[in-house]
Amino acid sequence: MAAVEGSGAGGTLFPGLADVSISQDIPVEGEITVPVGSHSPDEDYSTLDEPVRDTIMRDLKAVGKKFVHVMYPRKSSALLRDWDLWGPLVLCVSLALMLQGGSADSKDDGGPQFAEVFVIIWFGAVVITLNSKLLGGTISFFQSLCVLGYCVLPLTVAMLVCRLVLLAGAGTISFIIRLIVVVAMFGWSTLASTAFLADSQPPNRKALVVYPIFLFYFVISWMILTFTPQ
């Protein structure tokens, strides 16, 4: 502080402090404040420090809303904006569970069948996404995965119906019923996902994007249709 230095020339430079000694017992005045974060703005407070239950409920509601959007496909951006992969995971697991143990060359526990379904769905979705990105699409990677995964919902419903029908019998009539149901759900899935994904493409490339999606859902529908319980 100036007082300490000014003792030598105190008389002229610092007249008021001329008689202040520089012995060590001169206290130093000052304030040291530790900066404190002021009260957070509401938005950050609510999401950074919200109770866990709120987080869970919010995410669950988002997932539920997306399921509703798939069943009634409208041009809304909710599915695209807040993507999440919970729905695809649940659908994939349930579809794989229902499809296991259904082919002639499966092992005892249907193990490889189960993993096959998983790999087909996820790998297929990744390939479609890469394809659409390489064609110059403006949708992001995870958004596309999210849409494709959620649009498996109609096919999961078809699988459920097929299993129920197969409980009744495995004759021609049941096959026809299953065929109709699977074809209808396949059409629904393809239309729903195309409604969300095709918009992000330039117009002359839409067919190039829709075709892999068509193929993807076709393969899944084929697996569902050819499922025979043992």
């Binding site: 060590q24 017992d25 206290p27 130093v28 957070s40 950074l48 993993a115 995870f142």
Partner: protein, 295 residues
Amino acid sequence: MLPVGLELPRVLGLLRAGAAPGCSGSSRCCTARGQSPSDRPRQTLPPGAGPAPRRCPGRRIPARGSPAPFPWRISRPWSRGRMKQALVDDTEDVSLDFGSEEELALRKARIRHPLATFFHLFFRVSAIVTYLFCDWFSNSFVACFVTILLLLSFDFWSVKNVTGRLLVGLRWWNQIDEDGKSHWVFEAKRVPTIAASTEAEARIFWLGLIICPVIWTLFLFSTLFSLKLKWLALVIAGISLQTANLYGYIHCKLGGQKTISRVTSRLFGTADVPQRQSRRISEDGTEEHGKAVPR
């Protein structure tokens, strides 16, 4: 090392220096005796933060000639003798370490979020344990697969959304704005007086975050070399989920280097990503890195 742990001694040092214990009766100061905790204006801080630090006005220069006790606990050789004398003589104003009572209380409560810490480790460890010992539990491959997959998913979600922000105050997410552009946002909460107790939590957090992907990588090699390929999908899923969390939190910690965020957004984002990296310190002290416009 973790800035969380390093900041505390510095902050407490400041707190110590800021205490002005040598107060005469006329000046206003906040010794422990003079002011009870209830008097002080409490700031409503979010639950994750430590207690509010105190502002202490400085000590006024006393009238000429009156010997004043040395207020600062700076040990210079020529002042030590005087300081001790001052401490002994001055019975009214004892040089107090302001942080001491809080420090002790905080140190005692080493884990402030026991539930979050438990769940942070629970899902990861139980996924690994189930993978290792699934043959003992059940013969069914499907049941093991689904169980481990669900555990991995719950672990991913809880570490990303809950334990990260509770234990270390970090968070990362992906945000898509109106134009359909996707941004990855990495956020670090900067509260200067983060409590000493969170050192243990931070240590647990980072250890759990780093060790588990390493273990899953070991599983990957063991699966490949022992040709148990039906587990391969699961192991790859485990590695990718846990590595994603690890990468996200490291990115939050390191503060968003430009190259990393640009590579990420080009891979997962859309064509034009804003080049400007916005680093905004908002008034509540949280610092956001990344290219996003904050929500």
